[in-house]
Amino acid sequence: MRRLTPYLLALPGWMWLAIFLIVPMAAMASVSLQSGNAIDGFAMTFSVSNYSDALGRYSTQLVRSLLYGGMATVAMLAIGYPVAYWIAFKGGRRKSVYLFLLLLPFFVSFVLRTISWNFLLADNGILFGTLKGWGLLPADFHVLATTFAVVGGLTYNWLPFMILPIYVALERVDPRVVEAAQDLYATRTAAFRRVVLPLSLPGVFAGVLMTFVPATADPVNAAILGGTANTMIGNIIQTEYLTNLDYPTASALSFTLMGVLLVGIFVYARALGTENVLEAAAR
């Protein structure tokens, strides 16, 4: 009986993951190789033409998504690293207060936050409308429906997920190591570059992983902030599935997106020299 305990404990979880994670992936793989439509029914044709068709039609949006996701990730890193650094080394007794304030946005629905952004950035909204009223901005100034708005929205929404893992990594850095470097005549910059930065890389790795994938695949920001010229692959997949009911194309696109993201993660892991991708990400 004792030997069976772990299996009995794990069984419901296993079943859930098997039935609702693995089987659906298989179902999607199968749909992506079929042809037909929701009304006439689908037929298994094992043709990969769904993939080439989908890519032919939507490569612009796919490339744009990767670009926007990448730009947002770089922006998050640039904005978030200094914040994580300051809180970890100078936050003192108020560290938890700062972290709480950074997490505050998550008490508001993701969708609602994005819509509030839309309010803030609206052409004649409370921010730009007021500035225009004061004559500080030209009347035709606008931010909504631009690349800047979408990338800004993505950066905004996932920034805390970038800051937290970097903070955790920096928090673990022993200040005595930095002192030792300075005792050995390293300048402040050199101590940062050669000691602190390398020690924080696992956090950077986890942060990029936690932000790049969801930011690239997010359909909400582009829909609310982007206008028609900034459609991302997430919007296409959603429309193909839910409006056009073109399941084969949508499945092929979903797999392509996931494949590209996996390759991206792999290349990134190799480039950073992280020994164990799974372990770094699981933390």
């Binding site: 772990p6 794990a10 199968s30 914040v83 946005p105 508001v108 920034l159 359909p219 399941y247 993201l261």
Partner: protein
Amino acid sequence: MRGTRMGDRLLHLWTWLVILWLSSPIAVMILFGFNDKQSKSNTTWQGFTLRWYGELFEISDLTTALTNTLVIALVSTAVTVVIGTMLGLALGRHRFRGLGATNFLIFAAISTPELVMGASLLSLFVSGNVPRDSVTIIVAHVLFSLSFVVVTVRARVVGLDPSLEEAARDLGATAWGTFRQVTLPSIMPGVAAGAMLSFALSIDDYVVTSFVNGSTVTFPLWIVGAVKTGIPPQVNVMGTLIFGIGVLIAIGNAIAARRRT
């Protein structure tokens, strides 16, 4: 030395600017819940009113959506916590066949983009002719919350001293008694954290839900649907109230945690 202090000041200022930036949409949300709007859209400030707090439940679709969201979150959290705690215990305490594969599955579930997860569930339901309603939403929510509960519970289980359980058994406690009186209370903080996370993920989810909802509408889905016609102030009021309750719970939790230590 002077340069150092200057740098620290800049970093301090930067941190506050980022916090301000992150909170600004929340401020807008709270503010526009008090906006005395005259036209259909609620995007320009037209004066202060408490009217929308009084008429909070006047839009019946919105109220239904909010109720659906809360019921779905409660049920899926309950299911997730039970299954996730069991799996977390198995992974944290025992060595068994399939441990590595399970860890990989957990990682896969966390790193699959929500969009792909939603799409694949829809593919399954379409292939199997499964009608989509709140049950399929709950199934999906349990799926994406499960790994997070497993990870938080496992972390707590790993940090647990096994001799406590041995002592309980030596004193004649049954397996179930040991679990209920020793193991469960010790891992409770992890279970509670997992439950809160799972509840928060569930009430907030738009992407996965949009694929598996059928005709059932949740709060985030209703909001996105209403974007084109204009967001009514009631949405901001509900958002403000949820925000307030969340913050109060978090602060209460922090105070309770400080008392305990």
